[in-house]
Amino acid sequence: MTKKLLTTLLGGASLLATAGIAMAADATLTIESWRNDDLSIWQDKLIPAFEAKNPGIKVTFAPSAPTEYDAALGAKLQAGSAGDLISCRPFDKSLELFKKGNLADLSALSGMENFSDTAKAAWQTDDGKSTFCVPMASVLHGFIYNKDAFDKLGIKVPETRDEFFAALDKIKADGTYIPMAMGTKDLWEAATMGYQNIGPNYWKGEEGRLALIKGTQKLTDPDWVAPFQELAKWKPYLGDGFEAQTYPDSQNLFTLGRAAIYPAGSWEIGLFNTQAQFKMGAFPPPVEKAGDTCYISDHTDIGMGLNAASKNADAAKKFLTWVASPEFADIYANALPGFFSLNSTPVKMQDPLAQEFVSWRGKCKSTIRSTYQILSRGTPNLENETWVESANVINGTETPEQAAKKLQDGLDSWYKPAK
């Protein structure tokens, strides 16, 4: 009797086990991504951590080259051969996929509540009603400085603009270091590391950005011209021939220890840590007076969505819920210092420079780059024009007012804010 029961149980168990294997074979998820640099992080850290908790679901990370990603993904989606999970570029590129029905609506996904509205804005419809990607990471802007240089010259970390320019003057007068490593040749440095870096302090982050979209503020308003005015003042502190200095030139100038301050994006942290032979620190964009509220650009950069045609939608949703969890955030952010989790639960960072960057989230207000949402849909393209104009302002070939007027005129020619 007992023996018979045991056999039955065993038989049943083995049946269940085979069923389990069969199910496991069914749910294989493929992730489409442009981050081929992250392949080892996914394979060695993230995927094993998920699979250990979710037996029966296998995950493959299948990245393509960043420059080919959008075209390749589009073709695969059309042919129906795209992976279950799709890495989302911020804003319009993903929005377009959602409108075409390629991305599923994830508004109701459990785990979405872990993200703030700003974090989700990059992957929402304009009315904010549907969210179609789980926010994964953002990059922060600020300034990285050469600590050794600051110590040698007896400069303390500037908090206000006056202190900032005083520090630059001091470095320039000393002459050992180039005060600031930035060039205008590649244009985007001037816009991204310049305008979008210091701008939020002037236009008050989200407040100004949303007002611009609503049409209640204009790029010609003082708050939007002021960052250009500050950029124009940077010119004397840049290295010789900065007009022809490229982005890799700036990186090298700083990591070789020849420049003291580097207007930065947090994505530099990984590279700088391996290349720079000196101690580094970071400070947020200086404010006008000590004690003013500070605003930082905390730009949403990468998310993950669900292919609407996926055959394993349930397994994929389980995976996405995990991507939205603090556990994922912790592994991801520490494996890639400089790409910060957007999760509301703060992640404990191990890298000191990354820690410094992320600590600003606590004391400053976050915003995203002003040109990314909605405003860069038409011709002329506001983001691209901002690159050109920011470089012009620093080069001194245009005044801040002219630049702002040009941007606003371009925007006015196609953008009619909803009244």
Partner: protein, 307 residues
């Protein structure tokens, strides 16, 4: 009444023409027609709709497009003018020097001058960006050695000089082609003509200007038209050296980069294949017009010398 004997159909003509016609049609004619067709459509709610010449109206009527287009065309013309004024005279001069029987190591010079032509644009663009770099470039150091450092400026980063600098880089790269063609033309001048000239007392520079130059004019004509087509189709050098936005302030934007941005998009600018095709069509028409002017007005007037 007799009927003329029916001539056999000459199949071989078709058979021999077929491979070239088929290949040329497949890889040249069809894409060209496809582009022209694409230029007449527009994506309305993601559906391609026929809009006639609307895209061209936008290109020329909407200042957001027309300013960029005229700017690109102006820069492109300047790019071409520099090639005509610098590349071709230098090519002729080099060829004349090389064909001089007194020159030693001429095979070496010929090869050395021709080598850049076969280099990839990416290498040329990158190498020159480094050479001219104000930070690590050899250009400022070399100028410093001869005490002329003050002449150096970040040429690639200045609106006034970037296009000229890039044109000269392109000249450096391609000067080998006019040199080779003219060299070949010079060598094909029969010795009798030269000897006759010498008997008449025409030697040295006079011989070059009065005898050789008229004889190589057809070759110079061919080179001019090759330069024209090449320059108005140029893209790679600007793209590798200055990026797709052809900075600073669009001062190096030529039709190729303008087309690239419109067709494929750039950064947040989403590509618009229809506008891109309209620009490509304009480029085609400009080149076609240039070639026609050459074929019907210039080439028919060039005198040919038969020996």
């Amino acid at each position: 009444m007799t009927t003329a004997p029916k001539r056999a159909i000459r199949w071989h003509i078709g058979v021999f023409l077929a491979p070239a016609v088929l290949i040329y049609t497949a890889i040249m004619i069809l894409p060209l027609v496809g582009t022209l067709q694409l230029a007449l459509f527009k994506a309305v709610n993601q559906v391609q709709t026929f809009v006639g010449l609307d895209n061209f109206r936008t290109l020329f009527g909407d200042p957001n497009w027309s300013v960029g287009f005229w700017n690109a065309l102006r820069n492109n013309t300047w790019f071409f003018v520099i090639h005509m004024l610098v590349q071709n005279p230098i090519g002729v001069m080099l060829a004349a020097l090389l064909s001089s029987p007194k020159l030693r190591f001429s095979a070496f010079y010929r090869t050395a001058i021709f080598v850049p032509t076969v280099l990839s644009f990416v290498i040329v663009g990158f190498a020159w960006k480094l050479i001219l770099s104000p930070l690590w470039g050899v250009a400022p150091n070399l100028l410093d050695l001869v005490g002329l450092k003050f002449l150096f400026s970040p040429w690639l980063g200045k609106e006034s000089s970037a296009l000229i600098a890039l044109s000269l880089v392109s000249v450096w790269q391609f000067v080998g082609i006019p040199m080779m063609l003219i060299y070949a033309a010079l060598l094909s001048i029969p010795d009798e003509v030269i000897e006759a000239a010498e008997c008449d007392g025409v030697t040295g520079m006079a011989q070059f200007w009065k005898i050789k130059l008229p004889l190589i004019l057809p070759a110079i004509g061919i080179i001019s038209i090759l330069t024209f087509v090449g320059n108005f189709n140029a893209f790679d050098l600007i793209y590798t050296a200055q990026g797709a936005l052809a900075g600073p302030n669009y001062s190096t934007d030529i039709l190729g980069t303008f087309l690239y941005r419109a067709f494929f998009g750039f950064q947040l600018q989403i590509g618009d294949p229809n506008m891109g095709a309209a620009i490509a069509t304009m480029m085609f028409l400009i080149i076609l017009a240039g070639v026609c002017v050459y074929l019907f007005l210039v080439q028919t007037r060039l005198r040919r010398y038969q020996f």
